[in-house]
Symmetry: C2
Subunit: 368 residues, 2 copies
Amino acid sequence: MTGPRLTPLAQSLPASVPFVGPETQERARGRPFRARLGANESLFGPSPKAIAAMQQAAAEAWKYGDAQNHDLRAVLAADLGVPPETIMVGEGIDGLLGYLVRLLVAPGDAVVTSEGAYPTFNYHVAGFGGVLHKVPFAGDHEDPEALIAKAAETGAKIVYLSNPDNPMGTWHDAGRVQAMIDAVPPGTLLMLDEAYIEFAPEGTAPPLDPADPRVIRMRTFSKAQGLAGARVGYAIGAAPLIEAFHKIRNHFGMCRVSQAGALAAWGDKEWLAHVQGEVARGRQEIARIARANGLTPLPSATNFVTIDCGGDGALARRVLEELTARDVFVRMPGVAPLDRCVRVSVGDAQALAVLAEELPAALAAARG
Amino acid sequence: MTGPRLTPLAQSLPASVPFVGPETQERARGRPFRARLGANESLFGPSPKAIAAMQQAAAEAWKYGDAQNHDLRAVLAADLGVPPETIMVGEGIDGLLGYLVRLLVAPGDAVVTSEGAYPTFNYHVAGFGGVLHKVPFAGDHEDPEALIAKAAETGAKIVYLSNPDNPMGTWHDAGRVQAMIDAVPPGTLLMLDEAYIEFAPEGTAPPLDPADPRVIRMRTFSKAQGLAGARVGYAIGAAPLIEAFHKIRNHFGMCRVSQAGALAAWGDKEWLAHVQGEVARGRQEIARIARANGLTPLPSATNFVTIDCGGDGALARRVLEELTARDVFVRMPGVAPLDRCVRVSVGDAQALAVLAEELPAALAAARG
């Protein structure tokens, strides 16, 4: 008996995972985390209206979801001031990134991103045989000009920028990003990941212009709306590109319960303001805890704070391991020089109290 | 400004949809269906325990789902008597089919299926540049021997069989399917779609043998468990193939609420038995309605009944249109000679009463 024959590309890929999930770690450790601060989830939870909508929709889960995501696209379009045909709803930004890369990247095609930027984007690019070209962060920021230069040099199909950026939490203002859009080389698409945009200062996002074919923007219900587990993201782009998703997407891939939750979450602006306030407070508290331990918090426009541990990657790795051993789930950037930091999601008071309690001993052990 | 450059394959694909959803039809019609009998959903709903589990999980939707689907895989493995590493949980069979085709099918690779079989499988094959070879149904059954012969002739990467089969509702016994497995040509994988297996007579599914690399089986929570809108399917296959899914899958693609719902649904064998009983009764009722109108119901091992309208595809198409105009959502096979039929999902008493009420006039209009 012989087995199936994988494609040469599939054969060449490792069985990798961009992130190890907290549940996976908990099973390996044999006990749960006390503070879940590693995945930039919203510990403040979804809007009570979203919870209620999902609870009501649960009984209707026997029906496939609406393949057109009509109602959600309609309210997004109305509120964002763009036509519905310039919005694609999908299975989280992760799912949409997979579709986008599949549409644009054939084996050997160039793609540009930053050293240390979102690993799941890189995973999709590798998964479709693209060739990644990376430019370093400039300071603790992604470097728009270097990204554009590399895209021009390599003839890239896609150039990726997150703004605000993950894993550092920094951001560029709208003018700088618009200048990057205006500099996108012919035939390149700027993939502008705005997963954290609701936590950024006014003036961080350039105006939406879905007539512009040079950029696609992606946003999510996973962060500010607290629906990471529901898997709802959306892309805003020029209609021909949005239309192309229909060529390959899993038309009935959206959970009906999640559609209902996202719709209700979008309508609850009070909850959004509440979460934004909690996140702003939580960032200050994480910064305070960091400073109290002699560490340097980076400015953040996201729902996490990246903390410079003041040494090299090996030190930060030990800090992370010691925090993990003390039941605090955090993550860290993957490459130097960003990996001198650990990344801590904003938690509620209880989770941040655990952080404050455990960080001194974790630091001492890491340095010892 | 120039736009992004799609891959040649993506450029060549139409913006198609394998099925038009009922909500899309309702928006076009301007009014809702009275009987939702077209998508083989379970009108009996999910288990009350699954609904309760989803309602409870809704408040936890701020957490990403467990990337390993550990708990669900553990109970599936224990109950099915296979190792957990031979089970892959994914975003419905549709999602898993996309991953499978991506793993195995490069542009130009041959794939074999039946004329009129599951369109979403064909959509994925086309989407990755595969070349579909189709063999006709034999009578109203898929033809295992012809499928195997065509796979051998074309050197197919995948040969697809659904058992019980969609859209006709017929089935082969386990011996016939096992003989097909044993005849799979070297280097071909049998994709055995068992979405409807819970509705089939004992002796329809061959024993699970995850040591056998020649076949992958896919099952779903969308049908008997009534969770179509939750998007949970699973594949059972040899460990090396199951492991390969990790190379390309969306690791955090599963909804946390759906994971909870599926786990609870799997544990509620009483509800499964209840649904099986209702479906058996409903099949008889649809058959009765068909016969009372001079039509011929096909035997069914699924949660739908395919009804021979006694004419050609044009007649059945008119019957479908007239039923639609009377607010009854049904579907029909896409190709001759199967398209002499319409396909009616088993509904509850209320939905089938609507069918009984509207079918005579729909038939008269279709014939007139």
